[in-house]
Amino acid sequence: MGDADMGWLALSPQEWDAVRLSLLVSFWATIASLPLGIAVAWLLARVSFPGKALVNGLVHLPLVLPPVVTGYVLLLLFGRRGPIGAFLAETFGIVLAFRWTGAALACAVMGFPLMVRAIRLAIEAVDPKLEAAAGTLGAGRIATFLVVTLPLVLPGIIAGMILSFAKAMGEFGATITFVSNIPGQTQTLPSAIYTFTQVPGGEAGALRLTLVSVAIAFGALLVSELLARRAQARVGIA
């Protein structure tokens, strides 16, 4: 242990694992949920279909449920004996429970309402008249979406991704319920901080990881601000 120097700031291997794992989990939670997030946001913004209110409610459910409940539902569905979990394990050999991939799923579900909301608002802000104009110029629905709607929605997509990422970095209840808190495998930053606070002499570790969390969150905000500004300048709003 260093006495007066900054040596106490150095992360232990286990702490590094938690940081790496959190970044990995958050990155994949965000990337993997993005296509579905855009699709659902578009559906909610532009299409009227029977059961729309139900879909909307389902998407927003993780926002209002206690995270532990969401985690437990995931465990019931995606656990080894759950209907979806058993199917995935038998058919594809994919096991989510108590793996980092399960943590990514939990984080994706928890961040999904935030992501969909940001993208949906951005899509609703795009003037449908512009899309109609693209149609008269020969662009079909998909082409119009790709070259007109999507670029105009880009700032909203970036905002949605950052929100989802930040939510994933902080997600605790659903993750710990679904995949537990196994060091090196499912112990993310919040779980590691929680563990430190539960053992005597863990204050230094908790503080170290807290500083890392703050730094990552701040970095994400800066990057999102930068990207959003660039995208808006391109779109011509700013």
Partner: protein, 266 residues
């Protein structure tokens, strides 16, 4: 002029929306046909029906003999396959694309069979060379509208439909654009349907005027004939309503035949 004998545009529509009842049929030729009438006379519904943006309750739209809408036969070609260039009152340029990319937008999606319209002559015709690298947000209303016209032209349309293209501009801007529209009429070989409520624009641009009032066609002729009538056409809606009653069993084809002027039948 088209040589195949089919009129450029044939349209017959019947569309009821609340208290508003649209019931009309007309055909246009290769020049500029103005659809002239006060706001609320149904002009925009006609434009939307031509472009395929609305499905009329009953109707027929044919361009150069090709059927684009036929409610009886269940034909409704989607807007992006119609090759009809639309110029809107609000230019509707894509804000995230440069003027140049806006202009070339239609070319990306034009079918291979469509003639390829070169950029340079269109840009020269509309006097927008100096704008190519700019973004739409920095343009004046008049510049925007000229770019919008160029964008529609470059999509190689079979018909150019201009829906009140000058209505949102001030007088100075209108005077700035009108010469370009005259050049467009004289130099571009595209038939034009020009929708407007402005007497002066119609007088200056149109070869044929179709006078629209309360969803009915109440007159058709040269600008001189139609515009000189002034308010003489007030009695016409009643006549038209009588005709609508007569056509109890309405069919678009029949409606077209009954109203197509003799000059186009021969």
């Amino acid at each position: 002029m088209r040589q195949d004998g089919a009129p450029t545009l044939e349209i017959a529509l019947r569309h009821r929306l609340g208290a508003f009842d649209l019931d009309l049929a007309f055909a246009s030729d290769a020049g500029v046909t103005a659809l002239f009438g006060p706001s609320g006379s149904g002009k925009t519904t006609v434009v939307d029906a031509i472009a395929g943006l609305v499905r009329p309750q009953a109707g027929l739209v044919r361009i150069g003999g090709e059927t684009l809408t036929d409610t009886e036969a269940g034909v409704l070609v989607p807007p992006h396959r119609r090759r009809i260039g639309l110029v809107f009152q609000d230019a509707r340029l894509f804000p995230h694309l440069s003027v140049r990319t806006n202009l070339l937008f239609g070319r990306w999606f034009a079918p291979r069979s469509a003639p390829r319209v070169a950029l340079e002559p269109v840009v020269a015709l509309l006097g927008i060379e100096h704008l190519l690298k700019r973004r739409p947000r920095g343009l004046s209303g008049g510049e925007r509208q000229r770019v919008a016209i160029g964008r529609a032209l470059l999509s190689a349309p079979r018909l150019l439909v201009m829906d009140e293209p000058l209505a949102s501009l001030d007088d100075a801007r209108k005077q700035e654009i009108l010469p370009y529209l005259e050049r467009l009429r004289d130099e571009a070989r595209v038939p034009i349907v020009y929708v407007s409520h402005s007497r002066s624009e119609v007088a200056r641009l149109a070869g044929t005027v179709v006078l629209l009032r309360e969803g009915r066609i109440v007159g058709r002729g040269t600008p001189r004939e139609i515009l000189a009538r002034g308010e003489a056409s007030e009695t016409a809606p009643a006549r038209s309503a009588a005709r609508a009653r007569r056509l109890g069993r309405w069919s678009p084809g029949q409606a077209l035949n009954t109203t197509r002027p003799a000059s186009e039948r021969s």
